[in-house]
């Protein structure tokens, strides 16, 4: 019987089977950042052991960094301390760090792919749940806790039980104005936030194949929001074209060898999945969320459901200050955040700039655009996107996680509505009392201009 893509990669990394259901899994690449690593380095220090493989470990500062004046010392003392700890730990243990001011600095899930550190067939982990992003390259990538960060630092391995396999097929052609963010929000709204629990998801079908690498990353990124351990997409020409020439991608003969291997990474025709779903691209419209988890989403022209039909909706609507059966269209908003590891890459910024060119934001809305990395920031400036943003009244910042989780100063005030291209609309995620509406970069840009929720499709004729 054939193997799934997931099985091919996972099985090639089993060091040892140890007892029922548990395996020692070898990790090819380990990304670390300032928030979930200090206690892990501390653990190594207490045990008196080094980092097992510094060459496979890469660090960046992203979660806690300010997005203005990055050339100045961080003002907030606790954030500064955490970033300083990362610098010290990396120096002490010999780990390469893309810290503040480094040309490669950025959100960990943005820089890995853009530097060619993320490549097909790898196992990749990071102390961050959105590590699933890297699955877009045909990798087995998943988030881990700090104790596991310590395990990988200490041994380059993890003890794991193998997840089940799910495949989600999306066939057909997306309508104009519908982006990959809408695909994943649509899937989660159908499968719920626990529908993927225990599974590793492969995304397949013609609608997926037609997406760019960056759009694929957006989909894999949010796999965790349906509870899946991770998500992945089989590598193809789109993947190889993206990788070719990246700083850490193989070159010359090594490239040819790698390519031969990468081309073997697909699910065999007769491979069996534990669960399979089918969706049609034509059914998907621009999505927005109305509640306090990413599963509470709908196509923008639909109405909020009857609170009695779904558990938790009433509580969510009270927090959100919305009514059951209410239309989302026309809902007034206060902030727009374009950023996060879901949608802060150059393509996202180009789409937004293209849409807002010659337009101006609604006067009551504050808009900030936070690039995913230093490289994205530079590229955006080189293309003059920063000028377009400035003319539209959008504030273009420096890279970091920013208002995705509000660990730095970038918080949404209590009660304010924020259309956000990030991935989580949990209570307080963007600041205590903040009300998050998740959407695609296009829907977010359109909301910024209109000052309320609009259907971006009506602008694209």
């Amino acid at each position: 019987m054939g193997k799934t893509l997931f099985d091919k990669i996972w099985d090639a990394h089993i060091v040892e089977d140890v007892g029922p259901g548990t395996q020692v899994l070898y990790i090819d690449r380990h990304f670390i950042h300032e928030v979930t690593s200090p206690q892990a380095f501390d653990g190594l220090r207490k045990r008196g052991i080094p980092v097992f493989s510094t060459a496979q470990t890469i660090a960046t500062a992203d979660h806690n960094v300010p997005t203005v004046n990055q050339h100045l010392p961080i003002e907030e003392p606790l954030s500064r301390h955490q970033v300083d700890m990362l610098t010290q730990n990396c120096a002490e243990f010999g780990v390469e760090l893309f810290g503040l001011g480094h040309p490669n600095q950025g959100i960990v899930h943005v820089i890995g792919p853009e530097l060619g550190l993320t490549r097909p067939g790898m196992t990749i982990v990071c102390g961050d749940s959105h590590t699933s992003t890297h699955g877009a390259f045909g990798t087995v990538a998943f988030g881990i806790g700090t104790s596991q960060v310590e395990q990988v630092l200490a041994t380059q391995c993890l003890l794991q039980s193998k997840p089940l396999r799910m495949r989600i097929n999306i066939e057909g052609t997306l309508s104009k104005g519908v982006l990959s963010k809408d695909i994943i929000l649509y899937i989660i709204s159908k499968l719920t936030t626990s529908g993927g629990n225990g599974y590793f998801v492969e995304y397949a079908g013609s609608a997926i194949r037609s997406l760019s690498m960056e759009a694929r990353m957006t989909i894999c990124n949010m796999s965790i929001e349906m509870g899946a351990r991770g998500g992945l997409i089989a590598p193809d020409e789109v993947t190889f074209d993206y990788l070719k020439g990246r700083p850490h991608a193989p070159a010359g003969q090594a490239w040819d060898e790698a390519l031969r291997y990468w081309k073997s990474l697909y699910s065999d025709e007769d491979a069996l999945f534990d669960k399979e779903y089918h969706f049609r691209a034509e059914d998907i419209g621009p999505m927005v969320t109305y509640g306090t988890n990413p599963g509470m989403g709908l196509v923008v022209d639909q109405h909020i459901p009857d609170a009695e039909t779904l558990p938790g909706v009433e509580k969510a609507l009270t927090y959100m200050g919305l009514q059951e059966k209410q239309a989302m269209l026309g809902q007034k908003i206060d902030y727009v955040f374009i950023g996060s590891c879901t949608n802060s890459r150059i393509e996202d910024l180009r789409l937004v700039a293209d849409f807002v060119k010659g337009k101006e934001k609604a006067s009551h809305v504050a808009v900030f655009v936070v690039p995913g990395s230093k490289q994205v920031e530079h590229q955006a400036k080189a293309e003059g996107l920063d000028q377009i943003f400035a003319a539209a009244g959008f504030e273009f910042r420096e890279p970091g996680c920013s208002a995705c989780l509000g660990m730095n100063e970038d918080k949404i005030p209590k009660g304010a509505y924020c259309v956000s291209t990030s991935n989580r609309n949990f209570e307080g995620r963007q600041g205590p009392g903040a009300r998050t509406i998740l959407a695609s970069p296009l829907t977010a840009a359109a909301a910024a201009i209109a000052g309320n929720i609009v259907d971006v499709r009506t602008f694209l004729h």
Binding site: A12, F52, H81, G145, R429
Partner: protein, 197 residues
């Protein structure tokens, strides 16, 4: 890691589904660089009002409910992978969580910190909630060796599953790193034949 064998305690009910780790410990409290002290901010935004006054409606502020067992609705611990969530629950004084379903990463994080995630059937979870509601002094016994949770003073009990390796770790207070460090030679052998493209 502390050992876990048997726990006999009253329980604190939190009958809400899909409790995410941002609620368990909000991101702004993740700036600490040690594992201790997170209990003070456990469920911070539910526990305190915006004016930082204890919210009398929240169960942790209700003197009726005490104990080392937290009982929560299904899909507990979804969202962010922050292990700080498990640290906060443990630091507050809980030793076990009972729910009908856990998010994967949270389950792993809990087990790595000596906090036992007990998964019961939805029907049994309802029974537990009902018993706490009727009498908050009801005791529950979690016997890890026997993999059983029972409601004191009743015939009611249920078997729960746990990975056998993890069970051994919990009972003996071992962690995965101790185990993996002993695998060093196997890991090195593996590396020799493993190609990263």
């Amino acid at each position: 890691m502390d050992k876990f064998t048997t726990l006999n305690s009253t329980a604190v009910p939190l009958p809400i589904e899909d409790i995410d780790t941002d609620q368990i410990i909000p991101a702004r409290f993740l700036k600490a660089t040690t594992r201790e002290g997170f209990g003070d901010n456990l469920f911070r935004d539910w526990r305190y009002t915006q004016g930082e006054q204890p919210n009398a409606d929240f169960v942790l502020n209700n003197p009726r409910y005490r104990g080392q067992i937290l009982v929560a609705g299904r899909n507990f611990g979804c969202g962010s992978s922050r292990e700080h969530a498990a640290w906060a629950i443990y630091d507050y004084g809980f030793r076990a969580v009972v729910s009908s379903f856990y998010a994967d990463i949270f389950r792993g994080n809990a087990l790595n910190n000596g906090l036992l995630p007990v998964q019961v059937s939805p029907a049994f979870l309802d029974q537990i909630f009902r018993h706490i509601e009727q009498d908050p002094s009801t005791h529950f016994t979690i016997d890890l060796q026997a993999q059983q949770i029972s409601i004191a003073g009743t015939e009611l009990s249920e078997h729960f599953d746990i990975d056998p390796y993890k069970k051994t770790c919990m009972i003996n207070g071992y962690d995965d790193i101790d185990y993996l460090l002993n695998k060093r030679s196997q890991i090195e052998t593996f590396e020799k034949q493993h190609q990263i493209y």
